[in-house]
Subunit: 462 residues, 2 copies
């Protein structure tokens, strides 16, 4: 009899588990029947594409990569606008909001996250206040920012989502203010010196930053519509407002309170991405994506890694492990390695990338670091596209191994983050990284790259 696999949640995490299983379905002799339950209306939605839609690069609709029908046509029981209200891992079923009960052989929890919302905002109950987490949010923001008379935008939060919303507002010509804590932007990815470069870039686009420990004391409205916010002593006009203060894993849900969650609030899993209950791994229940707690690859402490890129690797791991059980005599198995969260974003035309720990995160974990930082053109100056790149490399002061990297520039940042991710994963030292031969063509690279310079700086500093 075909094995029942039920996936709860249809964000990138759930969709990628589904896609991977679909692609290898034929390898399972007894067959697999796949069910995906999602709250949203969409099929496969690229939420990472939404900031660019808001910036006017294309229609929001383009970010729906596949409609539900695409999966239904392949025999998937793909249910939208449906929620799971109870999970029973003891007996192996989930209950839907329609009261329907679905038995499963394998359950995959891809329940996502819920954006945080400060009490002062909740209590104000004003229109014109949004989170920026999914397609519906994007459509609402788009409608609101294009409405008549909208001149001022206010963003609470200086993470990627908040900055992407601010860039969209500034691009549209709105007077935009971002409120976040000190000292700089994207503090989970960038040290203040690197975050400061991004801040300067965005200030040139007209975005104002208030990066102080000032609370958002009040929201003022007019006819139920937000009109201004009070920050410290200052009242700042705000016709539209985005709250982007991070998001909590949807890991409690009151569905099975005994599933283990960690200090980050996400599901605790073992290396195979099984969730745990009563101190044991559940061999047929997996969790994936924003609702999961990962182990940091450098500090070995639990944390969240709410990136699509993290979800995709976890989805691959889960698929391999399910198939490893279902395919006869298979040795298929993937462990999920500790996470170093390589990340990249185009924020208003500046590319900002990071991987591993920041200096501050290392210090908080008791790791002493040696840093090297360099700025250089990415290719010979007489070639088109010879823009500057700033690289900061963070090494463990004891082992001299690379444990973090941060890049700010206009090109090559994504690919370099991937290179440095491999270097961190492989434990390369500052000396090894400096002495690595790098390919050269003057129209594409430098004979002595900024990586070599940054590693050399770290070596010189000790």
């Amino acid at each position: 009899m075909a094995k029942e696999v039920v996936i709860v949640g249809g964000g990138v995490a759930g969709i990628f588990v589904l896609r991977n299983l679909l692609a290898k379905k034929d390898k399972v002799g007894e067959g697999m029947h796949l069910t995906l339950i999602k709250r949203e209306r969409s099929g496969w939605e690229s939420v990472c594409g939404l900031p660019f839609a808001l910036r006017g690069w294309y229609e929001i609709g383009l970010t729906e990569i596949q409609k539900p029908q695409f999966f239904q046509d392949q025999g998937v029981d793909f249910r939208t606008e449906t929620e799971v209200v109870q999970i029973n891992v003891a007996e192996g079923f989930v209950t839907l909001d329609t009261a329907e009960v679905l038995k499963y052989d394998y359950l995959v929890l891809a329940t996502g996250r819920t954006p945080s919302m400060p009490a002062v905002v909740e209590q104000a109950k004003l229109e014109g206040v949004y989170t920026f987490n999914d397609e519906d949010d994007a459509r609402e923001i788009e409608a609101a920012m294009n409405a008549e008379g909208v001149e001022h935008a206010f963003v609470r939060g200086r993470g990627i989502n908040g900055l992407q919303a601010a860039v969209a507002f500034a691009t549209k010509g709105l007077k935009t203010t971002v409120l976040g804590g000190p000292p700089s932007l994207l503090p989970s990815a960038l040290d203040p010196d690197m975050g400061g470069m991004l801040k300067e870039w965005l200030e040139k686009q007209g975005i104002r930053f208030i990066l102080e420990r000032k609370p958002l004391t009040a929201l003022k409205g007019d006819g139920g519509q937000v009109k201004s916010v009070v920050v410290g002593d200052e009242e700042i006009p705000a016709d539209i407002m985005v709250i982007a203060l991070g998001a909590a894993p949807n890991a409690d849900l009151a569905k099975d309170p005994e599933l283990e969650t960690g200090e980050s609030g996400g599901f605790v899993t073992d290396s195979a991405m099984h969730v745990r209950k009563g101190g044991c791994s559940l061999n047929n229940v997996y969790a994936v994506g924003d609702c999961v707690e990962v182990i940091d690859g450098i500090t070995h402490r639990p944390r969240l890694s709410q990136f699509a890129s993290t979800a995709v690797v976890q989805a691959l791991v889960i698929c391999e492990n399910i198939l490893g059980e279902l395919i006869e005599q298979s040795t298929l198995y993937s462990p999920y390695a500790p996470c170093i969260s390589p990340s990249i974003a185009d924020i208003g035309g500046l590319l900002v990338g990071a991987v591993g720990v920041t200096s501050e995160a290392a210090a908080r974990a008791g790791i002493k670091t040696v840093n090297g930082k360099a700025t250089k053109l990415i290719k010979a100056r007489y070639f088109p596209g010879a823009t500057k790149l700033t690289m900061k490399l963070i090494f463990d002061a004891f082992t001299r191994k690379l444990i973090g990297a941060q890049l700010v520039g206009e090109a090559t940042v994504a690919e370099r983050i991937n290179e440095l991710a491999v270097a961190i994963y492989a434990g390369l030292t500052a000396a090894e990284l400096r002495n690595m031969e790098r390919c050269f063509d003057p129209s594409l690279s430098q004979l002595v790259d900024v990586t070599t310079d940054a590693a050399e700086k770290a070596l010189e500093s000790v």
Copy 2:
């Protein structure tokens, strides 16, 4: 008394030893006096920039990055148009063609290479036949290709230099034919399937390829000027001709015949880049660049690696080792690691990169391989610059470690070659490479990258 360092040769290898030592000169208590002897007129010349000058991107003169005066102003005895005619390592001096004798404490041999020339070409003694190895060659080729009545170009050799010359000729509108052996282009870097992609690209630019084991039987001239070549039964018009058949290390020079050279013809060195004589390393004589034999990082066999990028790493190693001796109580030291030759070239607008071994080179070394190949857009299709990239990954069939990679595409190739170089250096397996998290922003990358796909293909094939 200041230590005398004499560098023989002023290509990128010699220049980088000089630059590195200059930058750290002050660290040596007793001081260093630096002498560089070179045959050419130029100071620091970027020969890698010459193909683009020929393609009309800028003047040839721009490729001279520094004039000799630049180094002379820093106290370097920088001598151009001068040759070393004898080296005496027993007594520690070199003799110049001016009969002057220079004593040294440290000697660095950066003697470069001499382009190969088939006997049939030598014997024809015709004008209009060039090698493409240095600035003088480029100036001669430029003058000749722009002369009146020049319509047909012929290139002997399908390596990087030959193809770059062919592209320059085709760009200029000359009817261009390239003669090389089978089966495809750049055989030392690319497997035939990947080389075939480059061939197709260049054929669209009007370049004709004859890739067969056909000898160049004769050159025909008119008034001492080449007019055609005979290949097999065919006479091919050729008003200008470039011979690009590789280059032999300048390692004999009849200067000190007892310095050890290897089967590749290059100087044999130890890990510190010391040359050897009578079975022993000479602790104050180094060799660097095109004249050196390296150990291949995969096959562990000796070979050449005549890239500027190789020279630059060796120059760094030599500088560290000289300073390690001269700076009191220093532990400074760099070993030169076995070489995996990451390489990249823009050949007529197509980027071609490679690192490690080809399938064929692996087979020749008795290494069985498992390959994975994939083609994919480098970013989401609705973003500008979403071009296709083809990646071929070559894994050791026993260890499953990455031992080679080849890329053909229009962007991101250089940075990816560097990533894959780190992966080879660190011994990453196909499964590790496939499961690596990669940074994602749809305007810059794919959620599942071509690297993941190529690694997956390799895993599926076993």
